[in-house]
Each structure stands twice: as structure tokens, then as C-alpha cells.
């Protein structure tokens, strides 16, 4: 990531949200939406603009599961691990997905194609197990369905 790009992105986010009350989360969302992560070098820039310490900004970034410090894979797979999905054997599905991708939760495949994240409830509990792929929700997910979708993610058999 080019430092000038980070600077430009952070400045734009601060310009857009900086005047609102309590804008830090909004700014972090704007940065992550554009850069797919919150680069560590963005932290001091945001801190200076909001008159916060770097520790305070870092503390917020690290508190929330959604914000990430590194660029994720091209496809982000969020697999629900909460109770309703567990009742429909989300554990077996999780085993299948981790084996298929060759990574654990919170990891990215070596070729940078797919990041696997755990998520705790997608609100699709009557159609469990649920999974979100780059913001698209899937219900009643089976291992076979994962294999079908995995072809679009560029995962080889």
C-alpha cells in the first residue's frame, strides 16, 4: 500500500466525517471500505486529526472484530459459528471449509485468494447454517454448496 494513497483516503474520510460528533468509527469504516483494511500508518494520521492519542485509536481498531490491520483475500468468507447454526451442524461445515481452504479461522490462503472469518450470527437463523461471502448471504449451506461456490473463489480442488 502506497503511503500517499493511505494519506489521501484518510484525509477524505476525515473531511467527510470529522465534524460529526464522535466520528472515529465512521472514519475507520470509510477507510476500511476503501482500502479493505485499516493500515497501521493510518492510525497516527487519524489520531492527529481527532486530537486523540495513537493508543486510543489503536484501541478502538483492535476492539472491534470487523476492523482488520492487513489486507484480506479477494474473497472474504464469514462462516457463522453461533448456536442456531451449530444446531444445524455448523461444526461439521466449519471442518469442511477449513479443510477445503487449507486455512483456519482468521487466516488467508497462501495465494491470497480467500480469507476465512468466524462470525457470530448473521440473522439468518431460520435458514441455518449461514455464511456470508463478500457481503452476499447464503442460507442452508451444505459442504456441497461450499464446494460449488469455492470454484468462483478460485480455489482448486
Amino acid at each position: 500500500m502506497n503511503h500517499a494513497d493511505v494519506q489521501r483516503c484518510v484525509s477524505a474520510a476525515i473531511k467527510k466525517f470529522g465534524a460529526e460528533p464522535g466520528p472515529l468509527l465512521e472514519i475507520l469504516h470509510a477507510v476500511q471500505d476503501e482500502l479493505k483494511h485499516v493500515p497501521p500508518e493510518a492510525v497516527p494520521l487519524i489520531a492527529a486529526a481527532l486530537n486523540l492519542s495513537r493508543a486510543e485509536v489503536h484501541g478502538v481498531v483492535s476492539f472491534y472484530h470487523h476492523f482488520r490491520g492487513t489486507v484480506p483475500g479477494h474473497t472474504v468468507v464469514q462462516l457463522c459459528r453461533a448456536e442456531a447454526c451449530q444446531s444445524m451442524d455448523a461444526r461439521a461445515l466449519a471442518e469442511h471449509v477449513t479443510r477445503r481452504l487449507g486455512v483456519g479461522f482468521g487466516e488467508t490462503t497462501a495465494d491470497g485468494r480467500v480469507t476465512l472469518d468466524a462470525v457470530y450470527c448473521l440473522g439468518n437463523c431460520a435458514c441455518a447454517p449461514a455464511m456470508m461471502v463478500n457481503g452476499e448471504l447464503h442460507g442452508r449451506v451444505t459442504p456441497e454448496r461450499v464446494d460449488e461456490l469455492a470454484r468462483d473463489w478460485g480455489v482448486r480442488n
Binding site: 470487523h66 435458514c127 456470508m132
Partner: protein
């Protein structure tokens, strides 16, 4: 050329997760191929999720439903004459006469699946904004009294009387107050907030506007979880329409009153569903719990008096103003008045939204509505009220789903989610998960929650692997740990994690014996 035929294909996230977009595309393409003109409305879901995607076609005899429809079904459905409501194996007829729906009392969810969520005129044609008109004719104190008289209690989980909360904020004499809508619906097994925001967002907007008029707040925030991108889009659309049409903003409806709403996204933290953490997060900080007092109603968002209510609570307010407090309180039993949107989820054949007056039993919900487990195996347990709710065994299924009856069973209704498990469930694993979830999501502010949850996971692991003599001592220790967490935690996360753990220990003690070899992947 005859007039266009109207088709309803839900745009609800649950329906989309089962292929509703592909169905809508196939319908458009196949209709075009047959030179039939169609207009496709993306409605919300009616909440019969095993029938999604549920397509409805408007005929001279009313709306005729077909479901569950896949994109592959569409050519044959059209060949069979679906656009004229013709028979087919997927034809369900008038879905409102389906016993699953006809037996419900849809008040808060009255418009779900019926209206176009982005169409303000459709909302108004179905009773929308009658409540706001009524509220604008009342003094603020009378709006508060109407809500108090209705018996409405917070549907987010704490069940605090809404009218009392509003009265407290109303009585504060300060310039700036806020309405903060808690849309951080993080409990597994719950989705009614999502359904309202996606399927009837104007109801929430109207409810928040009425709350603003009642307590003297001019600005509202919707704190929406980032896991709900579909709801975010539906709300953005509806807010834009409401603003353009003068239902929000300065001098709304020429009333001389101002109210506007901003949506703020959460960032994947379960704890932010706790009201004081939510306020911290709205202020742009770590979602750490605040010590109460002061109550948010006195010192809330940015230090100002704030009404914090859940989506369902606020979306119920327009109806109370439109139909009167007595109409609403006539539903329900004892101190649980009105209706409760129950969400039936997990391993269940017919899952979805069941809104009824309080008092339905677990058994009626799981078997009469749910039809038993999805897998066809015997139902062994339900968890009520999300990850901090108790597990109940089959022997307790005659308990009515209302606040006091559940409380008497050391259980809680929470946000109304009921998750069904079949007999393959390992309850020691579920107890361990409850503690693990608490460890993952703890904000870290208080020790019983931050440390207790991790010690609890270790203890359960030890119980399941240690020799019998040690196990009894460890079970007693786990119970003591639950005591500490229950009594010593700052908020409900640490304080209520003992509910699933203790209920699993009480009702399913045999699962803690340690024989099962397939545990803990």
C-alpha cells in the same frame, strides 16, 4: 396488451440467501420471453422461511403464493400459468389463510411481506403514519402516557417498561436529547429487527419520530450491526424518501417540530448490544460498558438524556398511537402485555417469525408451529433468548413464553429467539461454547466476565477429561464461578452467561460425564 402483472419476490436477506434474486431475474426473463408484462416488487419476508423464496402473484382473486421457488422452477411455473394464479405443486394459494400465518396476531409485523419497503405511499396505504398524526395532535406528556398505558416493555431483552423510560427523558430540562435505536441484534436465533428494517423500515422511522416528539429529542441514531448490510440499504432508502417527503427533518409535516435520523454502523462486537456499550460505540470509542448510575435516560449519548430502545419496541409505537393503549394491552397476559414477535430458529422444520399475544408455550411453538426438528430426530432442548439464555429440556416445554413464567424457571425471554436442538446435541459442548463466546466478546472492563469466562472454558475441559473424583469438585467449582460471574459482573454478558451454563448442568448433567469422544474440534 393487458396491464402489467404484479409479482412479489422478497428482497429480505433470508430469502436472498436462498436464491430470491435469481428467482426474480428468471421471472423477468421468462415473462419477457412470453411477452407478458410484469412488475416485480421486492417486498420483505412474511416470515415463513421454509417456504422462501415465496413468490406472490397479484390476480383478480387476490395475491396467490408459490413457494419455495427456485430459479430452475420458474419456466415450468410460467408454463403452468402461474401469472394467472394457476395450479401447480408449489402453489400455496392465499398465504394469509395458511394456518401458520392465520393463527398469528401480527401487530408490529403487520405489514411484513405485504408492502414494498421503499414505497412510502404503500406504507401509508397500509396504516402507516396514522400514529404520527395522532401524536402530533397530542401534548408530549400525553404521548408518553399512551405508551406507558399500553404496557409496552422493551423488546430488546431487558423488558423495562418503555413508558417509564420515556417519562424520565421527558422530565429532563435540557436543550439536547437523543433517541438511540439499538439495532445491534446480535443474539443467535433472532432476526425480527432485521425483518422490520428490511421489510417495513418506515415503521421504525415513524416510531423513532414519535419518541422524539414525546421526549423532546430532535435527533435519533440507529446503531446498526455491520453484519446487516441489507438492512443498511433498506434504511438508507427509506430515510431518504421520508426526508424528501417531509416526514423527517425540519418542521416535519408542517408541525413546527424537527426530527431527523442518522444510521451508524457497529463493527462486529456483540457487547455493543448492551445499551451503555452501544452509547460508547456511538461516540466513537471502544464498546466498554459504563457503570450505572447515571442511567442513559439521564446521562446517555454525549452525556445527554437519551431514550435507548430496541427496533421492535420503537416499531410498535406507531400502532399504539394509532389504535390506542387499550387496544395493544388487551393482548397478552399478566405483566406481559401486547404481542411478542417470537423467532423460531435452528434445527426446526418450519422456522420463522411467529408474532402472537404473550402466553404461547414452548411446546406449541416448537411443535405446532415448528413441526419438530428439521432433521426429523427427537427435539432435546431449546435455548431461549440468545447466547445468554437458558436451555430448557423437553420436560419444561409447557412453560409459557412470557417474562414472569420464564423468570420463575431461571430462564428469560430476551429478544424472543428460540433455537431448537435435536438429540444429537452435546450440552456440555454448548455450555463450554457459552463461556467461550463470553470470553471472545467480553469488553474486558470487569474481572468476573473477562477472566471468569476463560477459567470457565478451562474448567469444563477439565471436567470432561478428568477422573471421577476430581470431576465432582470441579463441577462445584464451576457452579461457584457462575455465582461470581452472576453477582459480580458489570453487565448482562458476564452476568447472564451462567444461565446457559447452569441450565445445561441442571437439565443435562449426564452430558458432563465425559464419555463422548467426539468433542471439541
Amino acid at each position: 396488451m393487458s396491464a402489467a402483472i404484479t409479482l412479489y419476490v422478497p428482497g429480505d436477506a433470508g430469502a436472498l440467501s436462498l436464491g430470491a434474486d435469481a428467482v426474480a431475474q428468471a421471472l423477468a426473463a421468462e415473462a419477457r420471453a412470453r411477452t407478458r408484462e410484469v412488475r416485480i416488487v421486492r417486498n420483505g419476508s412474511r416470515g415463513l422461511y421454509w417456504l422462501e423464496p415465496l413468490v406472490e402473484v397479484v390476480t383478480a382473486a387476490g395475491r396467490v403464493a408459490y413457494g419455495p421457488v427456485t430459479a430452475a422452477d420458474v419456466p415450468k411455473l410460467l408454463d403452468a400459468g402461474m401469472l394467472d394464479g394457476a395450479p401447480h405443486s408449489l402453489r400455496l394459494g392465499d398465504i394469509t389463510t395458511h394456518p401458520w400465518l392465520a393463527s398469528q396476531q401480527r401487530l408490529t409485523g403487520a405489514r411484513l411481506g405485504i408492502v414494498d419497503p421503499s414505497d412510502l405511499d404503500d406504507y401509508i396505504a397500509h396504516g402507516g403514519y396514522v400514529g404520527l398524526s395522532a401524536a402530533l395532535a397530542l401534548a408530549p406528556q400525553d404521548i408518553v402516557r399512551t405508551v406507558a398505558d399500553s404496557g409496552l416493555r422493551g423488546r430488546g431483552g431487558a423488558a423495562f417498561p418503555t413508558g417509564i423510560k420515556w417519562q424520565t427523558v421527558h422530565d429532563q430540562r435540557v436543550a439536547q436529547k437523543y433517541i438511540a435505536c439499538n439495532a445491534d441484534e446480535g443474539d443467535s436465533g433472532t432476526f425480527s429487527d432485521r425483518m422490520i428494517m428490511e421489510g417495513d423500515p418506515f415503521a421504525l422511522i415513524e416510531g423513532m419520530t414519535i419518541a422524539g416528539l414525546a421526549v423532546g429529542a430532535t435527533l435519533g441514531y440507529i446503531y446498526l450491526r455491520v453484519e446487516y448490510p441489507h438492512a443498511a440499504r433498506a434504511l438508507a432508502k427509506a430515510l431518504d424518501v421520508a426526508r424528501r417527503r417531509g416526514y423527517l427533518g425540519k418542521n416535519l409535516r408542517e408541525s413546527g417540530r424537527d426530527f431527523d435520523i442518522a444510521v451508524r454502523l457497529g463493527a462486529g462486537a456483540y457487547i455493543c448490544g448492551e445499551e451503555t456499550s452501544m452509547l460508547e460505540s456511538l461516540e466513537g470509542r471502544r464498546g466498554e460498558v459504563r457503570v450505572r448510575p447515571p442511567l442513559p435516560a439521564i446521562k446517555g449519548l454525549f452525556g445527554q438524556p437519551t431514550v435507548v430502545n430496541n427496533v421492535i419496541t420503537l416499531a410498535t409505537v406507531p400502532l399504539i398511537l394509532a389504535r390506542g393503549a387499550m387496544f395493544y394491552r388487551d393482548f397478552g397476559v399478566g405483566k406481559s402485555l401486547g404481542t411478542i414477535p417470537l423467532q423460531l430458529a435452528g434445527n426446526v422444520k418450519h422456522g420463522g417469525l411467529v408474532e402472537r399475544a404473550f402466553g404461547l408455550t414452548v411446546r406449541q411453538l416448537v411443535y405446532d408451529y415448528g413441526g419438530g426438528s428439521a432433521t426429523g430426530r427427537p427435539v432435546r432442548a431449546v435455548q431461549i433468548g440468545g447466547p445468554l439464555g437458558a436451555y430448557l429440556p423437553e420436560s419444561e416445554f409447557d412453560t409459557p413464553l412470557e417474562y414472569e413464567a420464564l423468570s420463575a424457571k431461571n430462564a428469560l425471554l430476551g429478544h424472543g429467539g428460540v433455537v431448537v436442538f435435536d438429540d444429537s446435541v452435546d450440552m456440555a459442548r454448548m455450555a463450554r461454547y457459552a463461556l467461550e463466546f463470553c470470553a471472545i466478546e467480553s469488553c474486558g472492563k470487569c474481572t468476573p466476565c473477562r477472566i471468569g469466562s476463560t477459567r470457565g472454558v478451562e474448567l469444563v475441559d477439565r471436567i470432561l477429561t478428568s477422573a471421577n473424583g476430581r470431576r465432582d469438585a470441579d463441577l462445584a467449582l464451576l457452579d461457584e464461578l457462575c455465582d461470581t460471574m452472576f453477582n459480580g459482573s458489570l453487565c448482562g454478558l458476564g452476568g447472564m452467561t451462567p444461565f446457559p451454563v447452569r441450565s445445561a448442568l441442571k437439565h443435562f448433567r449426564e452430558d458432563f460425564a465425559g464419555e463422548r469422544g467426539d468433542r471439541f474440534i
